[in-house]
Amino acid sequence: MSEERYALNKQLAQMLKGGVIMDVTTPEQARIAEEAGACAVMALERIPADIRAAGGVSRMSDPKMIKGIQEAVSIPVMAKCRIGHFVEAQILEAIEIDYIDESEVLSPADDVYHINKRDFKVPFVCGAKDLGEALRRINEGASMIRTKGEPGTGDVVQAVRHMRKMNSEIAKITSMRKDELFEEAKQLAVPYELVEYVHDNGRLPVVNFAAGGVATPADAALMMQLGAEGVFVGSGIFKSGDPKKRAAAIVKAVTNYQDSKLIAELSEDLGEAMVGINEQEIEILMAERGK
């Protein structure tokens, strides 16, 4: 990937800021998401909660299904490939997906290596649960980061943990002397230049969204107040009682994440939220996939 292409890919993520990216499994759901104000949709065959319930190996979605969603909406369409599965990524690039999520939600195809995302023209978003993971993914060519959270649980605790961890590590680097950054780069297993960027700018070099377990407008606003630049909502919408209404409420809560009065109104009569699973009840910790 040329430097210019990488810049364009980071810049597309900048355009998504302040927005909500929603998981959808059909063109019909994609239309509902777009009408509710999603800034992009993630096309996948099964939402994380169902992947979790079904168990077994979970793979990239059928390209035909993804194409159906691309035709249904005018907003950017993202899709997931397995960690390390560069051929799935090549397929997604061939159908001109707008963003690839190399995602721990699917079963990893490689337990050592991530995809060399620098080989691709299309942009990648990757999950991270701390600063080291985020910078390693960026070094591999990711142009957007999201917290891993714990997908498909409806429990926001891990997303909060990951966002706080990243923020505190960024704050720590910002306050370091420059001569300490070399050792920090070694500890994080990332190039010095990336650590230096974080030191000088007090932020990641790419846009950082929250993901994993966001189920309510309050969850979304919580992540925004913690410093997320936008929010992914997976199972939280189409596993709830009134997806349309909940989706629109989450979109507005992200725009006005500091207005508690408005968020109170938005939280009324949303119907049933998705049934959550607590951290202690989970059998597979997806966030532990790919480090």
Partner: protein, 195 residues
């Protein structure tokens, strides 16, 4: 030039980048996120890049649409980039929506295709010189509407497509001047706010 206050639509998209530019040029900025924000006084309005469907919907649902449209019609200087140009356009060739509809041009959304079609260029902008231009899933202006034939001034053309126009109080560009290290288009807009 007295200190200007520029309102930036901040419901979704790359509004922070515009605010940085405006502050660098010495202007004050306010963010428009809901109706109450419109009570403040401002000399100009920026409609940033992002997703026009999201911004258009939130403008209506957060009850800002009518007042802003009125202000633009009454001559408030407005600067739309990418999605912002779509919000201003009188007609969209591949979308049934019309938002403010104050700029008499016909615009095609996602006119260069998906993200793989995004590109960078350098091209002449009338009155400024050559500027860097970043196009992200960008629109372009297909045609000037009949109503605007006398008023719409074409400022830039890339590969035979119109990518920047000015019409009275409105400046619309298909690319993202807020993403490149060049403040001249923002300066041009600040000058429009001076009149």
């Amino acid at each position: 030039m007295s200190k200007k206050t520029i309102a930036v639509l901040a419901v979704q998209g790359a509004f922070a980048e515009h605010i940085d530019r405006m502050k660098a040029l010495g202007a004050e900025c306010i963010e428009l996120r809901q109706k109450a924000d419109l009570d403040q006084e401002f000399d100009g309005l920026i409609l940033p890049g992002g997703e026009s469907t999201v911004q258009g919907k939130l403008l209506r649902e957060l009850d800002m649409f009518g007042s802003l449209q009125e202000k633009i019609k009454n001559g408030l200087p407005v600067f739309g980039t990418c999605a912002g140009l779509i919000l201003l356009a009188q007609e969209l060739s591949n979308d049934e929506h019309v938002y403010f509809g104050t700029l008499p041009v016909r615009v095609q959304r996602n006119a260069y295709g998906r993200q793989l079609g995004s590109f960078h260029a350098e091209q002449e902008v009338k009155g400024i010189g050559t500027v860097p231009m970043t196009f992200i899933r960008a629109p372009y202006i297909e045609a000037i509407e009949e109503a605007g034939e006398k008023e719409v001034e074409i400022l830039a053309v890339v590969d035979n497509r119109i990518v920047a126009v000015r019409c009275r109080n409105q400046l619309g560009v298909a690319f993202h001047p807020e993403l490149d290290a060049d403040n001249r288009i923002h300066e041009m807009f600040l000058q429009m706010c001076d009149h």
